[in-house]
Amino acid sequence: MPATTEPQGAGSGGNPVIRLENVFKTYDLGEIQVQALRGVSLQVREGEFVAVMGPSGSGKSTIMNILGCLDRPTKGRYFLDGVDVSRMSKTELARIRNRKLGFVFQQFNLLSRTSALENVELPTVYAGISPEERERRAMESLTRVGLADRAGHHPSQLSGGQQQRVAIARALVNTPSILLADEPTGNLDSRTSVEIMDILQTLNNEQGLTIVLVTHEPDIAQYSKRTMLFRDGKLVRDSFVPDRLLAREVLKSLPTVEEQAAEDAEQEARQAKLAEADTTL
């Protein structure tokens, strides 16, 4: 059995939730074969907050799809919660995604014209839970991301940050073992991004939720506890984050939405004045 890479001292955490053993993924595109992953071994323990980084084409999306049980490795094994899921059928994988994984996407991927509450309920529907229990859990989950008062709103009536919080609530509703977030802040402005990171950090710190985050932004990776750098389908660096940012602290230093708006208005006024000066010349 090949040794799994792990940064020094990581053994102090809980049980391993994710263990990849020498995973290969090859895409057969007819004439050419693309090796997206070339022998990746890694381990993530309960309560960790890992950022997966790498340039495009590095295999970070592929690793995310495999960790998310949306795809199966061509070779190698993937143990999720100690169970080998690398050879499971599509239906079994759907069940695993439903029970053990929560997804947060860059595009939020909420169902349009469907209330926030019903969006959050969606995973429970496929878990065969009674309607009353479904609603109770969805409401509880929405409360955790601070959106209980927006339960009846449709995605189009919510801001980007709020939509992403609904998506997080949806990911949490079946109490998964891991939360997988794929560029969760990619479509958000910097302040909202930090707010989302604050929610993730809180879930990680206070409830011990294991989080795997894919991002290409180094400053977003700074909020995690550990980063894995991928290049050419290989894990090239796996290290703890030395100067971890705390979203709550960062938020204090950032201008609030109102301040930002005031600043923007000021700048606009200044530019208008300049333009006026231009025309008078």
């Binding site: 949306l70 759907a94 069940r95 995604r97 439903n98 996407f105 991927n109 496929y126 079946n174």
Partner: protein
């Protein structure tokens, strides 16, 4: 995912594009409505025909004098003079399958009562004619055998004649004039209404055949014999012996045409039923083409829907929907669409056939079988044409689907 939830999701998805759903359903609506209407009308027609055939009499065997060929000119049925009362008596005597028989000679005459006159058909026959045709009198009585033997000037009249000549008067016992001869009215027959071809069967006068032969037409032969067999099967079985008997009596050489024509009620009923069911099947077939087109419409719109909702499918799969869940969802949607169309179509079909029967005074028989068949068929259309799009949705790769723009 439980069924109620799947159904709710389907309804909501359909409600999202109300116009599109309605237009998609239209194909099924028209198809089902057309099938129901056509079948109702067809069955109504069949009922009418059967009534008409029943009115001819039970187990009837109808013998008409054949066409006469005079120098190449054919004269039509009833033209030859070879069919006689002796032929009829011979049939009754020699063919036990025949229970009763009555002769008929017809003549169109001007009839007069008071200041009213009318042109109608005067048929000469015997009293058992009314038994054979199940045609009782509503007032008075049928003329008697004796009156036939004596060739008396008596008659029974149909309700149409009674209405026109006598209006509110009771015709029984009154004397009307046929041509120049006075006839006493013995009775008024019950109304039979229109026959299959729309002819008024009550516009008739019946008199002893002897009277009509001698005093009105001046002939010695018969135009028709209305016979009745012991059973329905016997009516068919009697055709061959009657044919050979008559050919022998009329001295027709082998190879020559018959100079008479035999029809049985069973024959006519069969023919009419066949024509009717061919018509109903043909029209029903045309109507079901519309159902087929409607089904293709559903498939088309479901394929569009699957493409439009690729991301939604991806999300559902990511949060744990299995292929079966996705397939079921789209299948239920298609079936909901087709069954709603079917239900509306059934209602429209019923309303349509009610309207048609109202305007055309044509009975429509609403067949429960047709309704059940339409409901099942529309569900089947939904399943058949919904399966491919649903399967396509289920086969989507969640990774691709989530990336779909």
């Amino acid at each position: 995912m439980d069924f109620m939830n799947t159904f709710r999701v389907a309804l909501r998805a359909l409600a999202r594009n109300k116009m599109r759903s309605a237009l998609t359903m239209l194909g099924i609506i028209i198809g089902v409505a057309a099938v129901i209407a056509v079948v109702s009308i067809g069955q109504g027609a069949q009922y009418l025909v059967q009534q008409g055939i029943q009115a001819m009499g039970t187990n009837a065997v109808f013998i008409a004098a054949g066409s006469n060929r005079a120098g190449g000119v054919r004269q039509g049925y009833g033209g030859v003079k070879t069919l006689t009362i002796d032929d009829m008596n011979a049939i009754l005597r020699e063919i036990p399958l025949i229970k009763q028989a009555a002769p008929a000679v017809q003549s169109r005459q001007q009839v007069v009562y008071g200041n009213q006159n009318w042109n109608t058909s005067v048929t000469g026959t015997t009293p058992n004619y009314f038994d054979i045709r199940n045609w009782p009198v509503q007032a008075g009585s049928v003329f008697s055998e004796e009156e036939v033997d004596l060739a008396e000037n008596v008659c029974d009249i149909g309700t149409t004649v009674a209405k026109i000549l006598f209006a509110d008067e009771n015709p029984v016992g009154k004397t009307l004039r046929v041509g120049n001869l006075p006839f006493r009215v013995d009775g008024v027959l019950e109304s039979k209404g229109q026959n299959v071809t729309g002819q008024d069967q009550d516009d008739v006068i019946f008199a002893p055949y002897t009277t009509v032969q001698r005093k009105i037409s001046g002939i010695t032969w018969l135009q028709f014999i209305n016979a009745s067999a012991v059973t329905q099967e016997a009516s068919l079985a009697a055709v061959a012996p009657i044919t050979s008997l008559l050919r022998e009596r009329h001295r027709i050489r082998n190879g020559d045409d018959d100079d008479f024509l035999i029809r049985t009620q069973a024959d006519i009923a069969d023919l009419a039923n066949q024509t009717q069911s061919v018509m109903t099947m043909l029209l029903g077939g045309i109507a079901s083409v519309s159902l087929l087109v409607g089904g293709i419409g559903i498939m088309n719109i479901m394929l569009v829907s699957v493409t439009e909702r690729t991301r939604e499918i991806g999300v559902r799969m990511a949060v744990g929907a299995t292929e079966d869940d996705v397939r079921r969802q789209f299948l239920v949607e298609a079936v909901t669409l087709s069954m709603m169309g079917g239900a509306i179509g059934i209602v429209l079909g019923l309303v349509g056939s009610a309207l048609i029967s109202n305007f055309l005074t044509w009975p429509t028989l609403i067949s429960g079988k047709a309704i059940v068949a339409a409901a099942i068929f529309s569900a089947a259309v939904g399943i058949f044409f919904g399966y491919y799009p649903a399967h396509k949705a289920a086969q989507l790769d969640p990774i691709e689907a989530l990336r779909y723009e």
